[in-house]
């Protein structure tokens, strides 16, 4: 029983991170049609922000805030310098642009900071545990779950209850109509990038707290998983991205925990086979957007 409780918490914790990253990808895709593979590097930049803040003597809490801020600034910078000029280009062109930006950032991290991981050491208490009904639960996974759900709830409120959120949802439906109605599209797009950067920054905080280091490739693999999650959930669907993130996270943890040793090298293949099966069953994703782009 303890094992099931603990593995469930592990699954939700990992799924929460994937969900935040997937949502960041989905927000930008739904508005400008960009699958932003540099999203992982925005997360990495947030991690380096935390590292540098600690090096310069900031308190751990301040370092986390700086990391999140760094990710937001990086997302806005990329939107202004790289992606705005490509607005209106087809999906493939945008995709290649994002790969190029991603590669440039990785090389900059590697040559400007270090090719090898740099350590991030948070206070020992942050790695503590507590007991619930006989199960030992880690502080970091718990905080990870709380932060993930708080972020997703906050974002839902912004999108549903504010004028800016309404404009973003309208842009996702039809950005040309939004322009015709006199809404400043550049501002809406910039806010979408800022939110995506914010989510990447929060993911960076959780990631570095759990992993203890940051390296130039840190964001690549989680964003790859997040991309799979957005496809599984339905490209352009915000709810689908969140659902896809949790499904991928839960599948990964369950297969890690319960697959026999002999099958464990096939874990990723099994997870991806299940994703393909789900897409054969629902080609537009589990929760497709209204103007669905077939996954």
């Amino acid at each position: 029983m303890d094992l099931i409780v603990q593995q469930s918490i592990n699954a939700i914790s990992l799924g929460g991170v994937y969900a935040m990253l997937a949502l960041g990808l989905a927000i930008v895709f739904s508005i400008v049609g960009l699958i932003n593979f540099a999203h992982g590097d925005i997360m990495t930049f947030g991690g380096y922000g935390i590292f540098l803040a600690l090096v310069f003597g900031f308190s751990p809490v301040a370092a986390l805030a700086i990391g999140i801020g760094a990710a937001v600034i990086m997302a806005l910078t990329l939107e202004r310098t790289a992606f705005r000029a490509m607005r209106g280009a087809d999906v493939v062109t945008l995709l290649i642009t994002s790969f190029a930006v991603s590669e440039i950032l990785k090389v900059l991290f590697q040559n400007g900071i270090s090719a090898r991981p740099v350590p991030i050491s948070f206070p020992a208490g942050w790695s503590g545990t507590y007991e619930v009904a006989g199960a030992t639960i880690g502080v970091v996974p718990t905080v990870s779950i709380i932060v993930a759900f708080a972020s997703l709830t906050g974002l839902t409120l912004v999108l549903r209850r504010t004028a800016t959120g309404m404009a973003m949802r309208a842009a996702a439906e039809d950005i040309e109509m939004l322009k015709l109605l006199g809404v400043r599209a550049n501002r809406v797009v910039a806010i979408a990038f800022a939110i995506s950067g914010l989510l990447a920054g929060v993911a960076a905080v959780i990631w570095t707290a759990q992993r203890g280091s940051v390296d130039p490739m840190m964001g690549f693999f989680p964003v790859l998983k997040a991309f799979i999650a957005t496809v599984l959930g339905g490209l352009g669907s915000l709810g689908g991205a969140v659902l896809g993130g949790f499904v991928i996270g839960i599948l990964e943890v369950l297969t890690q925990a319960f697959l026999p040793d002999g099958l464990s090298p096939y874990r990723d293949a099994i997870v991806l086979a299940l994703v393909i099966a789900a897409l054969l069953w629902r080609p537009d994703g589990l929760l497709p957007a209204k103007n669905a782009n077939r996954s």
Partner: protein, 383 residues
């Protein structure tokens, strides 16, 4: 007439220059400047080039044979590595120094096999890498040597039950824990469980939860995981409240791991060397720092330098630069003089027998010397 003279003069100059270059010993170097091998290839290449430059300043290898290096980036990509090795052979390479892992070295050795060009890995430690052919050499103490020494140390400490965490994605991360387990069992210990992970796995909490549930409870966990997987694993382990002793391979001997703080306090790992005060190794660190401004903070620097020493001694013993003769001479070296430690290829499968150091990480993020010994040949597991 003037044109003809000019052409003749230019051609003669090129022939003379070519003859001078032909006397250089050409070493091709695979060095990943990006990707997962960059943290290891970078320092190893820096140490290698530093010592080659020193030797060239003194007249070359053995004071008489100047060395020319051809260095090419592999981007940690095996296909790219194969391509650059072929290019370096086309450019006249007589010796290849390959990346710091078994897999790219095995791929490179397939290319160098036809001409029998000696191929030595920067720091690959999987003993299987030399099985490609008699032209392939290791340079660092192999995983089976490290595993045997660490397992013997663990048993001496009274540890009885080990849990192994390994990854089938690389020969290093798979082989190290398995060699440890084999020797640990032969010395009376028990393997109470095994978990597999993938390289760059996002999350280790599921493995940690499985370890917590293991019966009987392990008193030591052994992994050859490298960065960033090891930091993620140890954070998850300590974060779940498990303070079990953790041991690992030489890849934990990095400032990044030591910088992780309390979670690595007491972690024990193997290493290729330790810069004791007054030793050649300590002098190398001082010289390198004085010349480059960089302090060598891991063994890959000095091992890179020792590769230059190994090549020099092999060429001297061969009395020739013929690739086959150099490879044959290298395989016969006994008690060769190194800076990190001395080395013996004779009687081995070309993974040199060298001292293995066991070290412990302190709470202050320092490396503490525990012991230095060579692996007991009777205990050494076969690849």
């Amino acid at each position: 007439m003037i044109m003809r003279k000019l052409l003749l003069t230019t051609t003669s100059a090129l022939v003379v220059a070519g003859a001078v270059q032909a006397e250089d010993y050409v070493i091709g170097v695979m060095s990943a400047q990006s990707g997962y091998l960059a943290p290891y290839d970078g320092p190893a290449y820096a140490g290698f080039q530093f010592c080659i430059d020193q030797k060239n300043a003194g007249g070359g290898l053995n004071g008489e044979l100047m060395v020319k290096t051809i260095v090419k980036d592999t981007r940690s990509d095996i296909a790219e590595g194969v391509k650059v090795v072929q290019e370096m052979i086309d450019d006249g390479a007589q010796f290849i120094v390959s990346s710091a892992d078994a897999d790219p070295t095995i791929a490179a050795a397939q290319i160098t096999m036809a001409d029998g060009i000696p191929t030595m890995t920067f720091a690959g430690t999987a003993p299987v890498l030399t099985q490609v052919g008699p032209h392939v050499f290791g340079s660092y103490p192999a995983d089976n040597q490290q595993g045997a020494v660490l397992a013997a140390y663990a048993r001496e400490q009274g540890l009885e039950n080990v849990y192994l965490v390994k990854s089938p994605d690389s020969a290093y991360t798979l082989g190290g824990p398995e060699y440890f387990g084999e020797v640990f069992e032969s010395l009376g210990g028990n393997i109470v469980g095994t978990s597999n992970y993938s390289l760059n796995q996002p999350d280790f909490s599921a493995i940690v939860t499985t370890i917590k549930a293991a019966e009987p409870t392990p008193d030591v966990i052994v992994t050859w995981a490298w960065e960033p997987d090891f930091p993620a694993f140890i954070k998850a382990l300590r974060g779940a409240g498990l303070d079990t002793q953790v041991m690992g391979g030489d890849v934990l001997d990095t400032p990044t791991v030591r910088g992780l703080g309390d979670v690595v306090d007491g972690v024990v790992h193997t290493s290729g060397g330790f810069p004791d005060e007054g030793s050649d190794y300590a002098k190398f660190i001082d010289d390198f720092k004085a010349a480059t401004g960089t302090t060598p903070d891991n063994n890959y620097y000095v091992n890179g330098c020792d590769i230059a020493n190994m090549i020099e001694q092999a060429v001297a013993a061969a009395g020739s630069t013929d690739p086959a003769a150099v490879a044959e001479a290298m395989a016969e070296i006994e008690n060769g003089k190194g800076i990190m430690s001395d080395f013996t290829f004779k009687g081995t499968d070309r993974m040199p027998l060298r001292d293995v150091v066991v070290a412990r990480i302190t709470g202050a993020g320092e490396k503490e010397f525990v012991l230095r010994t060579t692996a007991d040949p009777d205990l050494l597991p076969q690849p």
